[in-house]
Symmetry: C2
Subunit: 191 residues, 2 copies
Protein backbone atom coordinates (compact mmCIF):
# COMPACT_ATOMS: atom_id res chain seq x y z
CA UNK A 1 0.00 0.00 0.00
CA UNK A 2 1.84 3.06 -1.29
CA UNK A 3 0.35 5.60 1.13
CA UNK A 4 1.44 3.54 4.14
CA UNK A 5 4.93 2.88 2.75
CA UNK A 6 5.36 6.59 2.03
CA UNK A 7 4.45 7.46 5.62
CA UNK A 8 6.91 4.89 6.96
CA UNK A 9 9.69 6.35 4.79
CA UNK A 10 8.82 9.95 5.69
CA UNK A 11 8.11 9.59 9.40
CA UNK A 12 9.42 6.23 10.55
CA UNK A 13 12.76 5.96 12.29
CA UNK A 14 14.96 2.94 12.95
CA UNK A 15 16.34 2.52 16.46
CA UNK A 16 19.23 0.27 17.55
CA UNK A 17 18.18 -3.39 17.57
CA UNK A 18 16.10 -3.04 14.42
CA UNK A 19 13.21 -1.38 16.24
CA UNK A 20 11.06 0.53 13.77
CA UNK A 21 9.39 3.52 15.34
CA UNK A 22 6.12 4.51 13.70
CA UNK A 23 4.48 5.93 16.81
CA UNK A 24 3.66 9.28 15.20
CA UNK A 25 0.91 7.77 13.04
CA UNK A 26 0.36 4.10 13.94
CA UNK A 27 0.81 3.07 17.54
CA UNK A 28 0.92 5.98 19.99
CA UNK A 29 -0.38 8.99 18.10
CA UNK A 30 -2.77 7.42 15.58
CA UNK A 31 -3.64 8.98 12.22
CA UNK A 32 -7.26 7.85 11.96
CA UNK A 33 -7.56 9.00 8.33
CA UNK A 34 -4.66 6.72 7.36
CA UNK A 35 -6.18 3.90 9.42
CA UNK A 36 -9.44 4.27 7.55
CA UNK A 37 -7.55 3.97 4.26
CA UNK A 38 -5.88 0.83 5.60
CA UNK A 39 -9.34 -0.51 6.48
CA UNK A 40 -10.51 0.23 2.94
CA UNK A 41 -7.52 -1.70 1.57
CA UNK A 42 -8.32 -4.69 3.80
CA UNK A 43 -11.79 -4.54 2.24
CA UNK A 44 -10.14 -5.19 -1.13
CA UNK A 45 -7.97 -8.02 0.21
CA UNK A 46 -10.60 -9.92 2.20
CA UNK A 47 -14.25 -10.78 1.59
CA UNK A 48 -15.79 -8.78 4.42
CA UNK A 49 -19.19 -10.39 3.79
CA UNK A 50 -17.58 -13.62 5.01
CA UNK A 51 -16.39 -12.04 8.28
CA UNK A 52 -18.47 -12.14 11.47
CA UNK A 53 -16.02 -10.56 13.89
CA UNK A 54 -12.68 -8.74 13.91
CA UNK A 55 -10.16 -9.95 16.51
CA UNK A 56 -7.03 -8.20 17.79
CA UNK A 57 -4.82 -8.03 20.88
CA UNK A 58 -4.47 -5.10 23.24
CA UNK A 59 -3.22 -2.50 23.18
CA UNK A 60 -1.93 -0.99 19.96
CA UNK A 61 -3.94 -3.25 17.64
CA UNK A 62 -7.23 -1.94 19.02
CA UNK A 63 -7.35 1.38 17.15
CA UNK A 64 -6.92 -0.21 13.71
CA UNK A 65 -9.19 -3.17 14.52
CA UNK A 66 -11.93 -0.81 15.75
CA UNK A 67 -11.77 1.31 12.60
CA UNK A 68 -11.78 -1.78 10.33
CA UNK A 69 -14.71 -3.29 12.22
CA UNK A 70 -16.64 -0.02 12.25
CA UNK A 71 -16.16 0.54 8.51
CA UNK A 72 -17.67 -2.86 7.72
CA UNK A 73 -20.30 -2.90 10.48
CA UNK A 74 -18.73 -5.79 12.42
CA UNK A 75 -18.15 -6.27 16.13
CA UNK A 76 -14.54 -6.26 17.34
CA UNK A 77 -13.04 -8.36 20.12
CA UNK A 78 -9.70 -7.52 21.69
CA UNK A 79 -7.76 -10.16 23.57
CA UNK A 80 -6.66 -8.93 26.99
CA UNK A 81 -3.15 -9.38 28.30
CA UNK A 82 -3.81 -9.78 32.03
CA UNK A 83 -6.61 -11.25 34.03
CA UNK A 84 -8.61 -8.35 35.41
CA UNK A 85 -11.60 -8.56 37.70
CA UNK A 86 -14.16 -7.57 35.10
CA UNK A 87 -13.71 -10.80 33.16
CA UNK A 88 -15.55 -13.69 34.70
CA UNK A 89 -16.06 -17.24 33.58
CA UNK A 90 -14.25 -19.33 31.01
CA UNK A 91 -11.40 -17.93 29.01
CA UNK A 92 -9.56 -18.96 25.90
CA UNK A 93 -5.87 -18.48 26.63
CA UNK A 94 -2.66 -18.49 24.65
CA UNK A 95 0.80 -17.76 25.98
CA UNK A 96 3.04 -15.70 23.70
CA UNK A 97 6.45 -14.06 23.90
CA UNK A 98 6.15 -10.29 23.51
CA UNK A 99 9.00 -8.83 21.46
CA UNK A 100 8.11 -5.32 22.67
CA UNK A 101 8.13 -6.17 26.36
CA UNK A 102 10.68 -9.02 26.26
CA UNK A 103 8.53 -11.28 28.38
CA UNK A 104 5.82 -13.91 28.28
CA UNK A 105 2.28 -12.59 28.10
CA UNK A 106 -0.99 -14.51 28.14
CA UNK A 107 -3.69 -13.48 25.68
CA UNK A 108 -7.20 -13.96 27.01
CA UNK A 109 -10.57 -13.98 25.28
CA UNK A 110 -13.78 -14.70 27.15
CA UNK A 111 -15.58 -17.80 25.92
CA UNK A 112 -18.77 -15.75 26.14
CA UNK A 113 -17.87 -13.67 23.08
CA UNK A 114 -16.12 -15.94 20.59
CA UNK A 115 -18.03 -18.98 19.39
CA UNK A 116 -17.89 -22.17 17.39
CA UNK A 117 -18.38 -21.28 13.72
CA UNK A 118 -17.65 -17.54 14.00
CA UNK A 119 -15.75 -16.36 10.91
CA UNK A 120 -12.85 -14.28 12.21
CA UNK A 121 -10.58 -11.70 10.62
CA UNK A 122 -7.52 -11.02 12.80
CA UNK A 123 -6.22 -7.44 12.49
CA UNK A 124 -3.00 -6.04 13.92
CA UNK A 125 -1.08 -2.83 13.41
CA UNK A 126 2.42 -4.21 13.55
CA UNK A 127 3.99 -7.66 13.33
CA UNK A 128 7.50 -8.36 14.59
CA UNK A 129 7.99 -12.02 15.52
CA UNK A 130 4.33 -12.81 14.83
CA UNK A 131 3.72 -14.11 18.34
CA UNK A 132 0.62 -12.01 19.00
CA UNK A 133 -1.03 -13.22 15.78
CA UNK A 134 0.03 -16.82 16.46
CA UNK A 135 -1.61 -16.55 19.89
CA UNK A 136 -4.78 -15.12 18.36
CA UNK A 137 -4.84 -17.97 15.79
CA UNK A 138 -4.60 -20.45 18.68
CA UNK A 139 -7.59 -18.78 20.35
CA UNK A 140 -9.63 -18.88 17.12
CA UNK A 141 -8.85 -22.58 16.85
CA UNK A 142 -9.63 -23.28 20.52
CA UNK A 143 -13.02 -21.62 20.06
CA UNK A 144 -13.84 -23.79 17.05
CA UNK A 145 -14.08 -20.58 15.03
CA UNK A 146 -12.97 -20.20 11.42
CA UNK A 147 -9.99 -17.99 10.49
CA UNK A 148 -10.80 -15.99 7.35
CA UNK A 149 -7.42 -14.29 7.35
CA UNK A 150 -5.01 -11.92 9.03
CA UNK A 151 -4.68 -8.28 8.02
CA UNK A 152 -1.58 -6.53 9.26
CA UNK A 153 -0.52 -2.94 8.53
CA UNK A 154 3.27 -3.18 8.95
CA UNK A 155 5.25 -6.44 9.00
CA UNK A 156 8.93 -6.71 9.83
CA UNK A 157 9.68 -9.31 7.16
CA UNK A 158 13.24 -9.84 8.40
CA UNK A 159 11.99 -11.28 11.70
CA UNK A 160 10.21 -14.10 9.88
CA UNK A 161 6.98 -14.13 11.88
CA UNK A 162 4.81 -13.39 8.85
CA UNK A 163 6.51 -15.98 6.66
CA UNK A 164 6.09 -18.64 9.36
CA UNK A 165 2.36 -17.88 9.43
CA UNK A 166 2.12 -18.00 5.61
CA UNK A 167 3.99 -21.32 5.60
CA UNK A 168 1.43 -22.73 8.02
CA UNK A 169 -1.36 -21.80 5.60
CA UNK A 170 -2.60 -18.56 7.13
CA UNK A 171 -4.10 -16.09 4.61
CA UNK A 172 -1.96 -13.16 5.77
CA UNK A 173 -1.94 -9.77 4.04
CA UNK A 174 0.51 -7.18 5.32
CA UNK A 175 0.27 -3.80 3.60
CA UNK A 176 3.92 -2.91 4.09
CA UNK A 177 6.51 -5.66 4.57
CA UNK A 178 9.90 -4.32 5.66
CA UNK A 179 12.74 -6.59 4.53
CA UNK A 180 15.57 -4.59 6.04
CA UNK A 181 15.81 -1.59 8.33
CA UNK A 182 18.84 0.45 9.22
CA UNK A 183 18.91 4.09 10.28
CA UNK A 184 18.06 6.09 7.17
CA UNK A 185 17.46 3.01 5.03
CA UNK A 186 14.18 1.10 5.12
CA UNK A 187 13.69 -1.44 2.31
CA UNK A 188 10.27 -2.90 1.49
CA UNK A 189 9.60 -6.33 0.05
CA UNK A 190 8.48 -6.20 -3.60
CA UNK A 191 4.88 -6.88 -4.67
Amino acid sequence: MQELKARILQEGTVLPGGIIKVDGFLNHRVDTVLLDHIAEEFGRRFDMNAVDVVLTAEASGIALAAIVAQRFGKPMIFAKKAKSDNIEGGLYQSEIFSYTYKKKVTLLVSQEWLHDGDRVLIVDDFMANGEAVRGLCDIVSAAGAELVGVGCAVEKGFQGGGDRLRASGVNLHSLAVIDSAEPGNIVFREG
Copy 2:
Protein backbone atom coordinates in the same frame (compact mmCIF):
# COMPACT_ATOMS: atom_id res chain seq x y z
CA MET B 1 -28.21 8.57 25.78
CA GLN B 2 -31.15 6.19 25.62
CA GLU B 3 -29.60 3.62 23.28
CA LEU B 4 -26.62 3.16 25.58
CA LYS B 5 -28.75 2.99 28.74
CA ALA B 6 -30.99 0.39 27.10
CA ARG B 7 -27.97 -1.77 26.24
CA ILE B 8 -26.66 -1.51 29.81
CA LEU B 9 -30.05 -2.60 31.18
CA GLN B 10 -30.43 -5.43 28.65
CA GLU B 11 -26.89 -6.81 28.64
CA GLY B 12 -25.02 -5.39 31.62
CA THR B 13 -24.60 -7.43 34.76
CA VAL B 14 -23.59 -6.37 38.26
CA LEU B 15 -20.93 -8.43 40.01
CA PRO B 16 -20.10 -8.45 43.72
CA GLY B 17 -18.26 -5.28 44.75
CA GLY B 18 -20.35 -3.06 42.48
CA ILE B 19 -18.47 -4.11 39.35
CA ILE B 20 -20.59 -3.41 36.29
CA LYS B 21 -19.86 -5.81 33.48
CA VAL B 22 -20.52 -4.41 30.01
CA ASP B 23 -17.87 -6.42 28.19
CA GLY B 24 -20.28 -7.80 25.60
CA PHE B 25 -20.56 -4.44 23.83
CA LEU B 26 -18.15 -1.92 25.35
CA ASN B 27 -14.83 -3.20 26.63
CA HIS B 28 -13.97 -6.70 25.46
CA ARG B 29 -16.33 -7.46 22.61
CA VAL B 30 -16.99 -4.03 21.15
CA ASP B 31 -20.18 -3.10 19.26
CA THR B 32 -18.69 -0.67 16.75
CA VAL B 33 -22.13 0.46 15.53
CA LEU B 34 -23.03 1.53 19.08
CA LEU B 35 -19.62 3.21 19.46
CA ASP B 36 -20.23 5.21 16.30
CA HIS B 37 -23.58 6.36 17.74
CA ILE B 38 -21.74 7.38 20.92
CA ALA B 39 -19.26 9.33 18.76
CA GLU B 40 -22.17 11.06 17.04
CA GLU B 41 -23.60 12.04 20.44
CA PHE B 42 -20.22 13.47 21.54
CA GLY B 43 -20.40 15.56 18.36
CA ARG B 44 -23.58 17.14 19.75
CA ARG B 45 -22.08 17.69 23.21
CA PHE B 46 -18.70 19.15 22.17
CA ASP B 47 -17.61 21.58 19.45
CA MET B 48 -15.47 19.22 17.39
CA ASN B 49 -14.18 22.12 15.27
CA ALA B 50 -12.41 23.29 18.43
CA VAL B 51 -10.68 19.91 18.96
CA ASP B 52 -7.21 19.17 17.57
CA VAL B 53 -6.65 15.74 19.08
CA VAL B 54 -8.52 13.01 20.96
CA LEU B 55 -6.70 11.56 23.99
CA THR B 56 -7.41 8.32 25.86
CA ALA B 57 -5.63 5.71 27.97
CA GLU B 58 -4.91 2.11 26.99
CA ALA B 59 -6.42 -0.31 26.70
CA SER B 60 -10.20 -0.28 26.70
CA GLY B 61 -10.55 3.44 25.90
CA ILE B 62 -8.77 3.04 22.58
CA ALA B 63 -11.65 1.56 20.57
CA LEU B 64 -14.09 4.38 21.41
CA ALA B 65 -11.44 7.10 21.08
CA ALA B 66 -10.38 5.77 17.66
CA ILE B 67 -13.96 5.73 16.38
CA VAL B 68 -14.65 9.24 17.76
CA ALA B 69 -11.43 10.59 16.24
CA GLN B 70 -12.04 8.87 12.90
CA ARG B 71 -15.60 10.20 12.64
CA PHE B 72 -14.39 13.79 13.04
CA GLY B 73 -11.12 13.44 11.10
CA LYS B 74 -8.86 13.97 14.15
CA PRO B 75 -5.72 12.18 15.27
CA MET B 76 -5.95 10.11 18.45
CA ILE B 77 -3.27 9.64 21.10
CA PHE B 78 -3.44 6.86 23.64
CA ALA B 79 -1.45 7.10 26.88
CA LYS B 80 0.57 3.96 27.51
CA LYS B 81 0.66 2.21 30.84
CA ALA B 82 4.19 0.84 30.89
CA LYS B 83 7.45 2.04 29.47
CA SER B 84 8.15 -0.07 26.40
CA ASP B 85 11.19 0.12 24.19
CA ASN B 86 9.45 1.73 21.26
CA ILE B 87 8.96 5.00 23.14
CA GLU B 88 12.09 7.11 23.24
CA GLY B 89 12.75 10.60 24.52
CA GLY B 90 10.76 12.77 26.90
CA LEU B 91 7.51 11.59 28.37
CA TYR B 92 4.65 13.26 30.14
CA GLN B 93 3.82 11.04 33.09
CA SER B 94 1.03 10.79 35.63
CA GLU B 95 0.65 8.16 38.31
CA ILE B 96 -2.87 6.90 38.91
CA PHE B 97 -4.53 4.20 40.97
CA SER B 98 -6.27 1.68 38.73
CA TYR B 99 -9.58 0.50 40.17
CA THR B 100 -9.66 -2.43 37.73
CA TYR B 101 -6.19 -3.73 38.55
CA LYS B 102 -6.04 -2.52 42.19
CA LYS B 103 -2.58 -1.06 41.76
CA LYS B 104 -0.67 2.07 40.82
CA VAL B 105 -0.13 2.57 37.11
CA THR B 106 1.82 5.31 35.33
CA LEU B 107 0.25 6.88 32.25
CA LEU B 108 2.81 7.95 29.66
CA VAL B 109 2.50 10.22 26.63
CA SER B 110 5.49 11.09 24.47
CA GLN B 111 6.31 14.78 24.42
CA GLU B 112 6.76 14.41 20.68
CA TRP B 113 3.04 14.04 20.06
CA LEU B 114 1.22 16.36 22.48
CA HIS B 115 2.09 20.04 22.30
CA ASP B 116 1.62 23.43 23.89
CA GLY B 117 -1.67 24.86 22.62
CA ASP B 118 -3.19 21.60 21.34
CA ARG B 119 -6.93 21.55 22.01
CA VAL B 120 -7.69 18.15 23.54
CA LEU B 121 -10.85 16.10 23.95
CA ILE B 122 -10.33 13.25 26.40
CA VAL B 123 -12.48 10.19 25.63
CA ASP B 124 -12.94 7.10 27.77
CA ASP B 125 -15.31 4.17 27.69
CA PHE B 126 -15.86 3.74 31.40
CA MET B 127 -15.21 5.83 34.50
CA ALA B 128 -15.09 4.31 37.97
CA ASN B 129 -13.00 6.39 40.38
CA GLY B 130 -12.00 8.81 37.61
CA GLU B 131 -8.29 8.21 38.13
CA ALA B 132 -7.48 7.53 34.47
CA VAL B 133 -9.17 10.76 33.38
CA ARG B 134 -7.52 12.70 36.20
CA GLY B 135 -4.14 11.38 35.03
CA LEU B 136 -4.92 12.34 31.44
CA CYS B 137 -5.94 15.86 32.59
CA ASP B 138 -2.57 16.15 34.40
CA ILE B 139 -0.80 15.20 31.16
CA VAL B 140 -2.79 17.77 29.14
CA SER B 141 -1.82 20.39 31.72
CA ALA B 142 1.86 19.34 31.78
CA ALA B 143 1.98 19.68 27.98
CA GLY B 144 0.56 23.21 28.13
CA ALA B 145 -2.34 21.92 26.04
CA GLU B 146 -5.95 23.05 26.41
CA LEU B 147 -8.64 20.70 27.71
CA VAL B 148 -11.82 21.13 25.66
CA GLY B 149 -13.68 18.51 27.65
CA VAL B 150 -14.05 14.88 28.64
CA GLY B 151 -16.47 12.52 26.92
CA CYS B 152 -17.19 9.31 28.75
CA ALA B 153 -19.62 6.57 27.73
CA VAL B 154 -20.48 5.00 31.11
CA GLU B 155 -19.81 6.64 34.49
CA LYS B 156 -20.27 4.95 37.84
CA GLY B 157 -21.75 8.01 39.56
CA PHE B 158 -21.72 6.34 42.96
CA GLN B 159 -17.93 6.22 43.00
CA GLY B 160 -17.71 10.00 42.80
CA GLY B 161 -14.90 10.27 40.25
CA GLY B 162 -16.99 12.15 37.72
CA ASP B 163 -18.42 14.55 40.28
CA ARG B 164 -14.92 15.35 41.58
CA LEU B 165 -13.86 16.21 38.03
CA ARG B 166 -16.96 18.39 37.49
CA ALA B 167 -16.30 20.16 40.82
CA SER B 168 -12.78 20.97 39.62
CA GLY B 169 -14.26 22.67 36.53
CA VAL B 170 -13.83 19.90 33.94
CA ASN B 171 -16.43 19.94 31.12
CA LEU B 172 -17.36 16.28 31.54
CA HIS B 173 -20.19 14.62 29.62
CA SER B 174 -21.01 11.02 30.46
CA LEU B 175 -23.73 9.45 28.34
CA ALA B 176 -24.93 7.05 31.02
CA VAL B 177 -24.33 7.84 34.71
CA ILE B 178 -25.11 4.92 36.99
CA ASP B 179 -26.13 6.08 40.45
CA SER B 180 -26.64 2.65 41.97
CA ALA B 181 -25.99 -0.88 40.85
CA GLU B 182 -27.10 -4.09 42.45
CA PRO B 183 -27.69 -7.44 40.75
CA GLY B 184 -30.82 -6.99 38.66
CA ASN B 185 -31.20 -3.30 39.53
CA ILE B 186 -29.21 -0.59 37.76
CA VAL B 187 -30.42 2.98 38.37
CA PHE B 188 -29.34 5.88 36.15
CA ARG B 189 -28.96 9.49 37.20
CA GLU B 190 -31.72 11.73 35.84
CA GLY B 191 -31.13 14.25 33.04
